[in-house]
């Protein structure tokens, strides 16, 4: 294109301004990508969760427990292949900051239901035999440098007076799904149920139900809830994805938070670059007028301004995306256990680039139209 040189020459008029504008794009795009990755990390829990599993919780809410006796009744329902149950343990390892989810699991059925979380057989057998045994996700083990055989004291205040529970790390699980959760800590149901005060024994947090076929999800869920209707503890059965989403929501309205921050970033960038483009056009009103006088059509002038904005957006955007590609694995490693794994996908990167292009064009549009409408005689008179 014969106008390339002209467009690029114009970019370098004010080098500091160019660098600052490109910098704004880079920072905004980095932030945008980061937010998009966090958001997709939270919704991935929902997407990846097997559609062939259901979660049964207390109708009164997730923090209320359900009797262990429901297990057998659920198993009898047609279409149910296996049932396991969990409790939220909620202990603290060394320091509050070291948060990771701790689940009380039922070793007899865990592997039949949570099929994607794989533990080597020898490790699993040790765990089953070991009352104070624990299994942790590979990510969690890496985070704290734990090895099989390590002793892990966990302080807990949720069940009776605060005390330290002693565990021995027997096994490490890996998730078959790329980016799937590897941050949990599992402890034995028997150890848990024996240790807690009598009044809260034999109560589980929730059941996870494995189905014969995903097609049965709707009728089975209805059958479970109907079976316990009008009892002292009514149930609510939902897909695992809905459960995961509900869990994440307990941490706060992450979606809204991310969208709000994203929106602020977007409008700030738009205002900053729009203002810069407007100033840069205003500065060369005389030159633009001369261009028009010597025969450049109005649409060319618009095209020049838009191209300039677009080039800035693309360069800044690519730098920002590049930074994100470098930084997200590092940040993700630092936040392991606090956030679901951060995965940078091609679709997030393309979305980021589209975002940059959109802001670029939008910021160039008003100044560009102004330049297009500029009347030569007025511009040359305006000394």
């Amino acid at each position: 294109m014969k106008f390339n040189r002209f467009i690029f020459a114009n970019l370098f008029r004010k080098k500091i301004r160019l660098i600052l504008t490109i910098g704004s794009f880079a920072v905004a795009l980095f932030l945008f990508t980061f937010l998009a990755v966090v958001r997709s990390a939270f919704s991935r829990g929902t997407e990846l969760a097997g559609a062939d599993r259901l979660v049964v919780i207390n109708r009164a809410g997730l923090i209320n427990v359900i009797p262990l006796s429901y297990r057998d009744k659920i198993l009898q329902i047609k279409g149910v292949k296996a049932v396991t149950h969990n409790n939220w343990f909620g202990g603290v390892y060394q320091d509050e900051k070291n948060f990771f989810p701790q689940f009380v699991i039922d070793p007899e059925n865990q592997r039949q239901v949570m099929t994607e979380m794989r533990v080597p057989d020898d490790e699993w057998n040790n765990f089953v035999k070991d009352r104070q045994g624990a299994v942790v996700g590979a990510g969690l083990a890496k985070r704290f440098g734990w090895k099989v055989g390590d002793r892990l004291p966990i302080k807990n205040a949720l069940y009776g007076p605060t005390k330290t529970w002693e565990f021995v790390l027997d096994g490490i699980y890996h998730n078959d799904h790329p980016g799937g959760d590897e941050s949990q800590f599992w402890l034995q149901w028997k150890y848990f149920d024996e240790t807690i005060p009598a009044v809260i024994k034999s109560q589980v947090g929730w059941y996870v139900v494995k189905l014969d076929s995903p097609d049965d999800a709707v009728p089975v869920a209805a059958a479970i809830d109907k079976g316990f209707a009008n009892s002292s503890t009514e149930t609510k059965t939902e897909t695992e994805s809905a459960f995961a989403a509900g869990f994440a929501k307990q941490l706060g309205n992450i979606e809204l938070l991310i969208l709000t921050i994203g929106g602020v970033v977007f409008f700030t960038l738009l205002l900053v670059t729009g203002n810069t483009m407007a100033i840069s056009v205003r500065e060369r009103v005389g030159e633009l007028a001369v261009l028009k006088a010597i025969g450049y059509p109005d649409r060319y002038v618009l095209f020049f301004v838009l191209s300039e904005a677009l080039v800035i957006a693309l360069i800044g955007g690519l730098i920002g995306l590049g930074l994100a590609v470098l930084a997200i694995p590092v940040v993700g490693a630092a936040l392991r256990g606090l956030l679901p794994p951060l995965l940078l996908s091609v679709s997030v990167l393309s979305l980021g680039l589209a975002f940059a292009v959109f802001v670029g064009v939008a910021s160039g549009l008003l100044p560009g139209i102004g330049a297009m409408r500029l009347r030569v005689v007025d511009a040359l008179r305006r000394v």
Binding site: R13, G295, V376
Partner: protein
């Protein structure tokens, strides 16, 4: 032959009849041009003079198709430009008019060569053809050795010569100059005027120029005074005409 009485019978290159321009300002009409007539032939060189605010720039803008008159007609080489659409007029300017303004002329981030090349980027000329034309134009203005200089590396006179090269590079029908020496010292002004004279004498260019400077105006074949919205012939090659000074 330059005439201002509107009675020329032979078809002239530039033919202006009954030109009116009225501006509205604050609810008031300001009549700047009032029934102005002008005939200019190929290779004529005419200077417009007149007090500030008399309408010289207004006239030049109308002749160059940068503005439209309130009434009257302008015909250039047989084309009546007063009724052209804005985009037609833009195309017409690119083909027929070479502009030399007092300021803002050059793009500071482009070299002399690139500035002169600008009008040619709108044509279908190939890169090597463009280069040939630009080199010729810069040669005519005597800046072959400054092709890769940026405007800030040139003197005011050299900048104005680059502007002239840009104005002639696409071989337009006529040149319009609005105070081309307004920002220059005497010596540079003389050089620019010698160059413009050469364009007229040697290359048969038609030049219409506005100036405040009688010495500069004296270089033209004819000096016309803008007075009460019409042109009056003041001087023809050193001979005073009609007693208007």
């Amino acid at each position: 032959m330059i005439r201002v009485d509107g009675r020329s019978d032979s078809p002239s290159l530039i033919r202006v009849r009954g030109l009116n321009k009225t501006y509205r300002r604050g609810g008031e009409n300001i009549q700047v041009l009032q029934g102005l007539n002008l005939d200019v032939d190929q290779a004529d060189f005419v200077a417009f003079m007149g007090p500030s605010g008399s309408g010289k720039t207004t006239l030049l803008n109308l002749l160059g198709g940068l503005d439209v008159p309130s009434a009257g007609s302008i015909t250039v080489a047989g084309d009546e430009i007063t009724h052209m659409s804005a985009s037609k007029l833009t195309q017409w300017r690119a083909r027929h008019v070479g502009f030399i303004f007092q300021m803002y002329n050059l793009i500071p981030v482009l070299t002399a060569f690139q500035n002169v090349e600008l009008p040619l980027l709108l044509t279908k000329l190939s890169k090597s053809e463009r280069r040939k034309h630009v080199e010729t134009a810069l040669g005519v203005v005597g800046l072959s050795d400054r092709m890769n200089h940026f405007p800030r590396q040139l003197s005011g006179g050299q900048e104005q010569r680059v502007t002239i090269a840009r104005a002639i590079v696409s071989d337009p029908t006529f040149l319009l100059c609005d105070e081309p020496t307004g920002d220059l010292d005497r010596k540079s002004a003389d050089e620019i005027m010698a160059l413009i004279e050469e364009l007229v004498g040697k290359y048969h260019k038609t030049v219409l120029m506005v100036t405040h400077d009688p010495v500069v105006a004296a270089r033209a074949h004819t000096t016309l005074h803008l007075d009460k919205g019409v042109l009056v012939e003041a001087e023809r090659k050193g001979v005073l005409v009609g007693g208007v000074a």
